[in-house]
């Protein structure tokens, strides 16, 4: 019975939620709302559970004087201080009905002068670590890493006005770089004696370089002779290759969720019930 009842509940609730998606009419929509409210109530209790668990772990660490117990003491001091300030609404207008953020409330002061700067400081350190990590990790060690590196450089440029400025002050610079890259790839094909890829890549490289040189020499850099701009390229990366990858991942995840949901509803997946020995 200990296993059958939870399996039955899962089946019934799962089927109701499934039907509700296709039949948004009474009683299914009302049942969905009732179940959602139940979920929200449980979520509120999860805060109590989370707080209790946090206190249990850190208080045990302090009582055993384990290494780093001082950090636990600070955590607990902060936790209980905020809990007391929030529960009793200290500092604000008298009575417990006023908002936590009411003028003069200690809760808002603690948020503004402790939590906010501490949180922002910790997060801002990321900029330094990202810079250091990208310096070490972004190396063109193989073909895939080179593609990643080039995409990263373009996005980085595009995220600033330098990308636009580059096209305005040096029109055709992207084409030249792109042409040079293609020429290099064509040279690699020539060395490997792969004639078909060589002719294809070589033709594109020649076209891009010739068109850009024509723009410089004949049009003397005037007119919009260039095809690529950094912002356009960034936009293309975001809405074509990036989007295709994201969609593929999302579809994969959705198929996984559908399969796992069916396994749960039909009682095939039972790991959430715990082991038989429990």
């Amino acid at each position: 019975m200990r296993r059958q009842i939870p399996l039955l509940i899962t089946f019934v609730v799962g089927v109701i939620m499934l039907f509700e998606a296709f039949i948004p009419h009474p009683p299914f929509d009302q049942l969905n709302e009732s179940l959602s409210i139940t979920f929200d109530v449980l979520a509120a209790f999860a805060f109590v559970l989370g707080g209790g668990n946090l206190a249990k772990i850190h208080l045990a660490k302090i009582s055993r004087s384990e290494p780093g117990w001082g950090y636990s003491a600070v955590t607990m001091a902060g936790f209980f201080a905020m809990l007391a300030i929030g529960l009793f609404k200290l500092g604000g207008p008298s009575g417990v009905k006023h908002a936590l953020e009411a003028e003069g409330s200690w809760f808002q002061a603690a948020y503004d002068y402790c939590f906010l700067p501490l949180s922002a400081t910790t997060f801002s350190l990321l900029a330094f670590f990202v810079a250091s990590a990208s310096y070490r990790a972004f190396r063109a060690k193989n073909r895939e890493a080179t593609v990643l590196l080039i995409a990263a450089l373009i996005i980085l440029l595009g995220r600033t006005l330098v990308g636009t400025a580059l096209t305005e002050t040096l029109p055709g610079s992207l084409e030249l770089m792109f042409g040079a890259l293609l020429a290099y790839l064509a040279w690699e094909q020539y060395r490997s004696k792969r004639w078909i890829p060589l002719s294809l890549i070589g033709a594109v490289a020649a076209f891009v370089l010739a068109r850009t040189l024509y723009g410089y020499l004949v049009l003397a850099g005037g007119g919009e002779f260039y095809l690529l701009t950094v912002p356009d390229l960034v936009n293309w990366i975001m809405v074509v290759p990036q989007l295709a990858g994201q969609r593929a991942i999302m579809i994969g995840i959705c198929l996984g969720i559908i399969s796992m949901s069916l396994r749960l509803i039909l009682g095939v997946e039972r790991s959430y019930l715990g082991s038989d020995n429990d």
Partner: protein, 300 residues
């Protein structure tokens, strides 16, 4: 005794002490801030779409503003929140603030205090804007407010019964909103508002997220998402649109527009990272070439 070879300049560059990188990043951030370097942005179509959507709303429309973020993403997202409120107030819309993050209420209050109350003194609480506050449950909250706000929100953040708030009289559920304008720093956020709010009710959804999150939301644009703003650059673009669109109010005043001011440090920091990437790769290829030559000479 084996002779230890001193590493070449290129090899040393490869293993540069990370504190040098930290120093350069710090300078890249501090210098533009000290000299107040500002950069005007040109809006991308995704950002322009949000601006146009708000412009097209008739005055007095109901706009839900869920602020689902905390202080960690404030530098990127708070300028978006401020800009949305500025724009909506200029268009005389009714604002309904709520949040799925516990920290969201404090962030809402920041925008209300620093933008709404200071710049739009004619806006009255309860008549033109209301703060519903935080409720736990993530996407579960969205599922409930789709049909009725009152199920979860019996009172606003000030403890006033929801039925006593004048602007809530004609509002039952999410379907009574004309636009959902979310700002999100993670889960639950914009994605959940699209899936559980916009898709179920047909109310248009748009919003802003951190630069890291933005690529994950592009699959929803422009079908399920009317517009998307990713990171500080998009926030600066929106501010530029506001300055252009409401030049009589803002003129060339960039002082109050945080994203435009912050783009200076971000631009320079990005340039420093690009520089390091280029230098690192040159050093990598150069040292790889020299180690090959050394190997050949040893073989000989």
């Amino acid at each position: 005794m084996a002779q230890t070879e001193t590493p070449s300049m290129m090899e040393r560059l490869q293993t540069i002490d990370r504190r040098w990188i930290f120093l350069f990043i710090m300078l890249a951030v501090v210098i533009p801030l000290a000299f107040d370097l500002t950069i005007d942005e040109v809006a991308t179509p995704e950002v322009q779409a949000i601006y146009d959507r708000i412009e097209d709303l008739p005055p007095g429309s109901n706009v839900l503003l869920p602020f689902d973020y905390g202080p960690e993403s404030e530098p990127e997202l708070q300028p978006m929140a401020d800009s949305y409120v500025r724009h909506l107030c200029r268009r005389k819309q009714k604002l309904f603030f709520m949040c799925l993050w516990p920290t969201g209420q404090a962030q809402t209050l920041k925008t209300v205090d620093q933008v709404l109350k200071r710049e739009f003194s004619d806006y009255r609480y309860g008549r033109d804007y209301v703060m519903l506050g935080f409720r736990p449950g993530g996407q579960g909250v969205i599922q409930v407010v789709v049909t009725d706000f009152r199920t979860l929100y019996q009172s606003d953040v000030e403890g006033t019964p929801i039925d006593d708030v004048p602007m809530m009289q004609n509002v039952k559920g999410l379907k009574d909103m004309d636009l959902i304008l979310n700002i999100s720093g993670g889960f639950p956020g914009l994605k959940e508002w699209i899936q559980f709010g916009g898709d179920r009710t047909g109310v248009p959804v748009a919003g802003g997220v951190t630069a890291v999150q933005a690529p994950l939301l592009y699959p929803y644009y422009p079908g399920q998402l009317s517009g998307i703003m990713g990171g500080l650059k998009a926030a600066a673009e929106y501010e530029s649109l506001l300055i252009q669109g409401y030049s009589e109010a803002y003129g060339t005043d960039t002082e109050r527009f945080a994203a435009i001011r912050r783009m200076g440090p971000q631009t320079l920091a990005h340039l420093v990272i690009i520089l390091f990437l280029v230098v690192g790769n040159i050093a990598y290829f150069a040292s790889r070439g020299s180690s090959r030559e050394r190997l050949k000479s040893l073989e000989k």
